[in-house]
């Protein structure tokens, strides 16, 4: 892990993003624990390097399609944390006017075409976004995030095939966090690496350490470059881990605390701080400042959200149809 290839601003920018994602997730976790949030949610603590490294390789007008575990993608793609928190709390000021909630936060203006409650549900959409880019000749790129579990859905197969034969500007980013809910990846498929599946579509596939933001970023930049250059899609597998349960109701019977602890030792934030400090590009302890800033931003967002009105039930039918 070396930052040399990156300017110091971008490196610190990525660290800032990771710290912000973690702060958001921790706040979300706390709000749930306090009974202040309705429904369920899926936290990405431990996986910050993937969202961050990938989105850092994108232009503001590039697109992403996110997943149920999408808070990190949303922030990394440039969401306003206040509007995001408001949506998380179901407020009328939120990105989706409180209709979406955690599982459907979208911010079309920053290129985030939505979290998705359906495992692999965003992959077919990504082919269409890619086709649209190709036909509009805008040289944008579309990134589709999905999990290890999603790689067993038919939608994965159809989407990668379609993107391949039409050389669409799509990067398929698999966040292999070792489990689809309770199902260990080793029991749900017979390949060592999910990236091996790229071969079935004649596509390049690559597996990187998803706890290493620089490795993720480098691989993503290459894949995005290919896509933008008209060379077609890539399957990029990022090996990572979720520290928290799958969702709020998960008692985690399927794994031991040891396993979680082992992964925590490779924490993507801690490691990246270590690298930056080791290279003398971050003053020792300076990360505390970033964390404070992140918490302050989250705090302000929370205040904004809590002060915001709930949607009025009389607006229930708003937005079902366009042009009404």
């Amino acid at each position: 892990m070396r930052t040399t290839a990156l300017g110091i601003d971008r490196a610190v920018g990525m660290l800032t993003t990771m710290v912000l994602i973690r702060a958001f997730e921790e706040q979300a976790d706390e709000l749930f624990a306090q009974g202040r949030v309705y429904g369920t949610m899926h936290l990405s603590i431990g996986q910050e390097a993937v969202a961050t490294g990938v989105c850092a390789a994108l232009r503001p007008d590039d697109y992403i399609l996110s997943t149920h575990r999408g808070h990190g993608h949303c922030l990394a793609k440039g969401a306003d944390v206040r509007l995001m928190m408001a949506e998380f709390l179901g407020k009328d000021t939120g990105y989706c006017r409180g209709r979406g909630g955690s599982m459907h936060i979208a911010d079309v203006s920053s290129g985030n075409l939505g979290a998705n409650g359906i495992v692999a549900g965003g992959l077919p959409l990504a082919t269409g976004v890619g086709l649209s880019i190709q036909m509009r000749r805008t040289e944008q790129v579309c990134v589709a995030f999905f999990g290890d579990g999603a790689a067993n859905e038919g939608a994965f197969h159809e989407s990668l095939n379609l993107a391949s034969i039409w050389r669409l500007p799509v990067v398929f980013v698999c966040e292999n966090n070792q489990y689809g809910m309770s199902m260990p990846v080793g029991r749900s498929m017979s390949v060592e690496r999910i990236s091996e599946r790229a071969g079935a579509y004649g596509l390049p596939g690559q597996t990187v350490d998803g706890m290493d933001v620089l490795a993720v970023h480098e691989a993503a930049a290459t894949a995005v470059g290919r896509a933008r250059g008209g060379e077609g899609p890539t399957l990029l597998e990022c090996v990572t881990y979720r520290y928290k349960g799958h969702s709020k109701s998960d008692t985690q019977r399927y794994r031991g605390k040891d396993e979680v602890d082992t992964w925590r030792e490779r924490d993507p934030i801690g490691r990246f701080v270590g690298v930056l400090e080791g290279e003398g590009r971050l003053a020792p302890g300076a990360v505390r400042g970033l964390e404070r800033d992140a918490r302050a931003a989250i705090e302000a967002a929370l205040q904004f959200a809590e002060a915001s009105p709930e949607p009025d039930p009389s607006t229930l039918l708003d937005g079902v149809y366009a042009g009404e």
């Binding site: 075409l113 959409l125 269409g128 095939n161 149809y321």
Partner: protein, 327 residues
């Protein structure tokens, strides 16, 4: 000014005109290019618009549906052909959980302007997996519109309107109608969605019919006219949203209603139409129970005699009209 076209030609003309008018309109589907479409609707369009805009896809119905949705979400106006309506069963997640909901879930901040065209219905000996009439499923889904033309003119005008609509539209064509001819006006005049049409005015009984049943209802109306029964035939044309006003007004006027549709009777479109009329003020004007004539409660059989027996024919509508007159 108008000229005679087949239903198929009328559809093709609508596609061609919209593609000429608007670069964002593209076609996707299996065998729609060189082959010209399983029912020849897109025949010749590849030659005019090229393989970028008339795009043959692999056999991946869910994938290509998502592809259309994603393209629609980012500025295109795709028209997707699903080769037989039966195969739409493979697209349900993308259509119902994505296309229909994206706008709402996003707080009204996005739109999915796409059309899914698909041939439905029995009568060609295609058996249980190539004869479905599943329009009722989609008419149950907020966020979708559902259109089902019964004539060449409606085919053209409604397809124009569907392509220009900013919402996902399920456009249900009927296989038996492709070769039917009818007068079609010149020019690119859309027929607004959500508006029923009185296909024949009458005073004694209202027959509400959709798709291929409209022609059968008109034949039945002609037959019973000889017995002095005056039948009003109405085609809702759009199945979601239904033009309740027109249907209810006619029911109030005649006091007797028959609904004819090809989909399975139970929970077919006629269930909604009957329920809608029964809960409206027309209830107080009804002189007889509403008669529903829908598909039989079985998969579509291959054998021709069985197949005919499985969906309402002209005779059945005549019988239904007589029954509602007697009650």
């Amino acid at each position: 000014m108008s000229r005679e076209l087949t239903y198929r030609e009328a559809l093709r003309e609508a596609l061609r005109e919209e593609m000429r008018r608007d670069d964002r309109v593209i076609l996707l589907g299996e065998d729609i290019g060189t082959y010209g479409g399983a029912f020849a609707v897109t025949d010749g369009l590849l030659q005019e618009f090229g393989p970028e805009r008339v795009r043959d896809t692999p056999i991946s119905e869910a994938g290509i549906t998502g592809c259309a949705i994603g393209a629609a979400l980012t500025g295109m106006r795709p028209v997707l052909e699903i080769q037989f309506m039966d195969f739409i069963t493979l697209c349900m997640e993308q259509l119902v959980l994505q296309a229909a909901k994206i706008r709402y879930m996003f707080g009204g901040k996005a739109q999915v302007p796409m059309v899914l065209r698909t041939p439905a219905g029995s009568g060609t000996g295609a058996a249980a997996q190539h004869s479905e009439s599943l329009e009722a499923w989609f008419a149950h889904v907020p966020g979708l519109k559902v259109v089902a033309p019964s004539t060449a003119a409606d085919a053209k005008g409604l397809l124009l309107a569907s392509i220009r609509d900013d919402n996902p539209v399920i456009f249900v064509e009927h296989k038996l109608l492709y070769k039917e001819r009818g007068e079609v006006p010149e020019g690119s005049e859309p027929i607004p969605l959500g508006v029923a049409e009185v296909k024949r005015a009458g005073t004694d009984v209202t027959v509400i019919a959709t798709g291929v049943m409209v022609g059968r209802a008109l034949d039945a109306a002609q037959r019973v006219a000889d017995d002095g029964i005056s039948v009003e035939v109405i085609d809702p044309r759009t199945l979601r949203p239904l033009d309740g006003e027109t249907l209810i007004a006619s029911a109030k006027k005649t006091g007797r209603v028959v609904v004819a549709y090809e989909g399975v009777k139970t929970l077919g479109i006629g269930a909604e139409i009957a329920a809608l009329i029964s809960e409206s003020e027309a209830f107080f004007h009804l002189d007889a129970p509403i008669v529903r004539l829908g598909g039989q409660e079985c998969p579509l059989p291959y054998n021709r005699r069985l197949e005919r027996a499985a969906v309402p024919q002209v005779d059945d509508i005549v019988t239904g009209v007589r029954r509602v007159m007697r009650a």
